[in-house]
Symmetry: C2
Subunit: 177 residues, 2 copies
């Protein structure tokens, strides 16, 4: 996991991401699709709110991993959803980020390259604890390797897991007690 | 000078800046001012190119200072223009960033607060050396303090300087030889 992002690097990648969005607006305006341009703007604002929500969980290392992962040209793209905004400071951020990074590395090595692989991370913070859902869609080429990774005594409890050739669903839970 | 920006912090400020631009587009679209929205998009793309040019000078500390300065709520706003893109690696980036930061601190302490104070930094890299122009418009309340700062034996040569109550122009030069 790259942790030493310089401000200039972060700004370069962020600029690239934002410019792609701006180009989408521009493209639709040039086709006179004003309604579609407005929809895209609403999506952008909503994505930015989601990014702010992720940051407000106060899991900076974990957030950095999710926010920067797609800049590394991996075999799958990550997006995320935060269902509620409660501070998750009782979670070991460093440990969670490290586990997630290891899991991402294992997943990356177990799927078909140059294919539309996609992972959605859903974070559901509640008063009693926080649930993380990892939902993958794509082509898994080495289920055994993922199962082996998940069966290791790890730092976090996998509550639920389902793996097939095309899907993986994982649920992990951190109690706040 | 704050140098330990975390990726999450940089992204938060960048997000805020970009969302302001998106809101400008959205506002004009809602007024059906499509031409104005397109102009704003062109300005955004042009600003992003300028930001990339600044980064490509390979003066990362100096670039970081300019790119993050407005996030600190100072008495003046900074913008910048890069007239040509040549690598300026012969310049001591650390020294330039430190001098500029000291100069900004002196300027900040010598001007009227809560006023539209504005500083434009123009960077003109040529084969023989690089010129930096600092052009301030606003209200200067302590010319003497700025003159004292500039008269100190500093790390860089001030080629030209003009100061009045409302303006300051400064030209500094680094030879590439």
């Amino acid at each position: 996991m790259k942790t030493d992002w310089s401000p200039v690097e972060v700004l370069r990648y962020a600029r690239h991401d934002w410019l792609n969005k701006i180009q989408l607006i521009k493209g639709n305006l040039s086709l006179n699709k004003i309604d579609r341009a407005n929809e895209i703007i609403d999506e952008i604002v909503s994505d930015a709110r989601e990014e702010a929500n992720l940051t407000n969980l106060i899991l900076p290392r974990f957030a950095t991993l999710l926010l920067t992962y797609n800049w590394n040209n991996q075999r799958f793209q990550v997006d995320y959803e935060v269902l509620d905004v409660l501070k998750c400071e009782y979670i070991d951020d460093e440990g969670l980020a490290q586990w997630t990074d290891d899991f991402f590395a294992c997943l990356n090595a177990s799927i078909k390259p140059y294919y539309e692989n996609h992972l959605t991370v859903t974070i559901d913070p509640q008063l009693t604890g926080t649930r993380f859902f990892f939902d993958f869609r794509g082509i898994i080429t080495d289920i055994g390797q993922i199962e082996e990774f998940l069966s290791r005594d790890g730092f976090l409890a996998v509550v639920n897991q389902e793996i097939s050739d095309y899907e993986l669903s994982l649920e992990v839970f951190f109690s706040s007690k």
